[in-house]
């Protein structure tokens, strides 16, 4: 097939990703002189090196991984549901992951390393499991979206209840922090566990890709196409739950990226939901690295939260894309 198209697009995306990551390491709140930067690159024990490699670099790589996870997750969900408005947010995966994190924080588990992250992953896993069970019984994608909306609303209400009943304002503030989404103060430890999660999700998504492409023709055609659609659908759902769960676990709730990344590259792969996966993950990574850099460089007293920033910049842009693409969706 025209396999070169997605390959070329991915190569084209790698260049700005490299530049944005480099910029995210070089620039920040503290402005280094050229001499300090040289020191940072030459002398690993120097102060600038500490900032560059222990603070900025892991933060940038975390943003890259979280963005890639969200871009991948959104692309898989949109293909799976044949719906350009689907994303982990819509199906309640992010909301249940956030609920898990909020519950862990209020219960005081934040003192244990990894506990909040595991709670978030468990929330996403629960959402994935519930969605898998639901979709095994009800095949209509519209019903799955409505079910996702219900899961999302329920998780939102439960999170609000946690706020409501929270014993301390400190815990409430911490939950709030989580819900706003950020990659501030992330370390190489975060990178070390989010990266394999993203790779596993990518492998699952690649396996399910032919099924996603066949689903373009509708449920019944796909089921009679010869492909084991039921199995491929489960694998795709698993991929999306792992990717979205990892993203929320490491960075909290960051909206819009999962919706927008597939849109940015869809025309370049001529709509193919299988060839969309890798470019969408790369576009998501690029978006989040760039957004985090801009959020850091924006001169404000309190650093802008990444999730707030992506929503503020992204939502109007998304509305514009949706407006332009609307004609195409209505077949």
């Amino acid at each position: 097939m025209t396999g070169g198209r997605e390959g070329r697009l991915s190569l084209i995306l790698v260049v700005p990703i490299g530049l944005a990551t480099l910029a995210a390491v070089l620039f920040g709140e503290t402005i280094f002189s050229a001499a300090q930067l040289r020191q940072g690159f030459m002398d690993p024990s120097s102060g600038p090196a500490e900032v560059l490699w222990a603070v900025r670099a892991p933060r940038a790589v975390t943003a890259l991984m979280v963005g890639a996870a969200l871009g991948l997750s959104g692309a898989v969900m949109q293909g799976l549901l044949r719906n350009p408005l689907a994303d982990p947010g819509v199906l309640g995966v992010s909301a249940l992951a956030a609920l898990g994190a909020a519950a862990a924080i209020v219960l005081g588990w934040a003192a244990w390393p990894g506990a909040v992250e595991i709670a978030a992953l468990a929330g996403a896993g629960l959402a994935g499991g519930v969605l898998v069970m639901f979709s095994a019984r009800v095949r209509s994608p519209e019903a799955l979206i409505l079910f996702g909306v219900a899961v999302s609303s329920f998780a939102g209400a439960a999170t609000a209840l946690i706020f409501n009943l929270s014993p301390s304002p400190i815990a409430t503030a911490e939950v709030m922090n989580w819900l706003l989404g950020s990659v501030q103060n992330r370390s190489w430890v975060d990178v070390a566990w989010v990266t394999p999660a993203v790779l596993i999700a990518a492998g699952l998504a690649a396996f399910a890709a032919p099924g996603l492409r066949m689903l373009s023709l509708g449920e019944e055609t796909a089921r009679t196409s010869g492909l084991p659609i039921a199995r491929l659908r489960l694998v795709a759902l698993l991929a999306t739950a792992v990717a979205a769960g990892a993203a929320v676990a490491v960075a909290g709730v960051i909206g819009f990226v999962g919706l927008a990344a597939p849109h940015l590259v869809r025309a370049a792969v001529r709509g193919d939901p299988a060839r969309l996966l890798l470019p969408s993950a790369l576009a998501g990574g690029l978006m989040l690295v760039a957004a985090d850099l801009l959020a850091r460089l924006t001169p404000t007293d309190q650093e802008l939260k990444l999730g707030v920033f992506t929503a503020l910049v992204g939502a109007p842009l998304f509305a514009l894309i949706a407006w332009r693409a609307a004609r195409e969706w209505r077949l």
Binding site: M214, S216, T221, T224, S225, G226, P228, G271, E328
Partner: protein
């Protein structure tokens, strides 16, 4: 020797309504059978049951002798390909890639070659690189038919393949389906146009309230009595220069 497509005493429900009620049908390889009947008679349900998409309450649907529900997805697709009435395509894929989805088990190059051939067969080869969202409904219908024709399958189950096509394209599609039967495939097509069914099909099966009430050579099946009872038409066949023509009026023009 059993027929390639067999349905025997099939009963099925859809949302509590009985859509098949003891339907019997056999389609051999090498024949084009037209499935006709008024709206709601169960044409789509019968085709979907043969494709393994509609579970039967009683009776059985067989592809080449085996119950369709006992076959793996891949075996099923090798024995019959299904073209639904629904023509929505989720993304703006090029026509060529849509048609290539008919052959998911071929290598990329072979699938594209099969797609190209099938697009040419339904005379939309010139649109191969165009996105399906930028096409008219009729063009898109032909691309989807090409997808079914690209499948290396022994039978075609096509639901209303000529609905919404212009008159020339309707004739072209029926010619192609007839040619596919001539080449040895079993072809079952639901149609609303009775004169075209009479002209192109080897056999016509008339479905009424989920039951096959007539199954014979076209004019032997579509008798004035059947046209009256099933379709509510007061009609007779007239010999035309290119095949039989139907002269019809509503049997109860004031409503009953």
């Amino acid at each position: 020797m059993t027929a390639w497509l067999t349905m025997w005493d099939a009963t099925a429900r859809l949302g509590g309504r009985r859509v098949l009620d003891g339907a019997d049908l056999r389609v051999e390889r090498g024949e084009l059978v037209a499935l006709v009947g008024p709206n709601g008679a169960g044409k789509s349900s019968l085709i979907r049951a043969l494709a393994g998409l509609l579970p039967l309450d009683t009776g059985v649907a067989r592809l080449a002798g085996d119950d369709v529900n006992d076959l793996s997805p891949r075996e099923r697709s090798a024995r019959a390909v299904y073209l639904p009435q629904e023509r929505r395509i989720a993304w703006n894929l090029p026509a060529m890639e849509v048609a290539a989805l008919g052959a998911p088990f071929l290598s990329g190059a072979d699938a594209l070659a099969a797609a190209r051939k099938a697009l040419d067969e339904v005379e939309v080869g010139g649109l191969a690189d165009r996105g399906v969202a930028e096409m008219s409904g009729g063009e898109r219908a032909r691309v989807l038919l090409a997808r079914a024709l690209a499948a290396p399958s022994q039978a075609l189950l096509v639901d209303e393949p000529i609905a919404g096509l212009d008159p020339e394209a309707q004739l072209m599609v029926l010619e192609r389906l007839r040619a596919r039967a001539g080449a040895g495939q079993a072809v079952l097509a639901s149609l609303h146009d009775l004169p075209l069914a009479a002209r192109f099909a080897h056999r016509v099966a008339v479905l009424d309230h989920g039951r096959v009430v007539a199954d014979a050579a076209p004019l032997a099946a579509l008798t004035p009595d059947i046209l009256q009872r099933v379709f509510g038409l007061s009609a007779r066949w007239v010999d035309g220069p290119d095949g039989p023509l139907l002269s019809a009026v509503r049997a109860r023009p004031q409503g009953s």
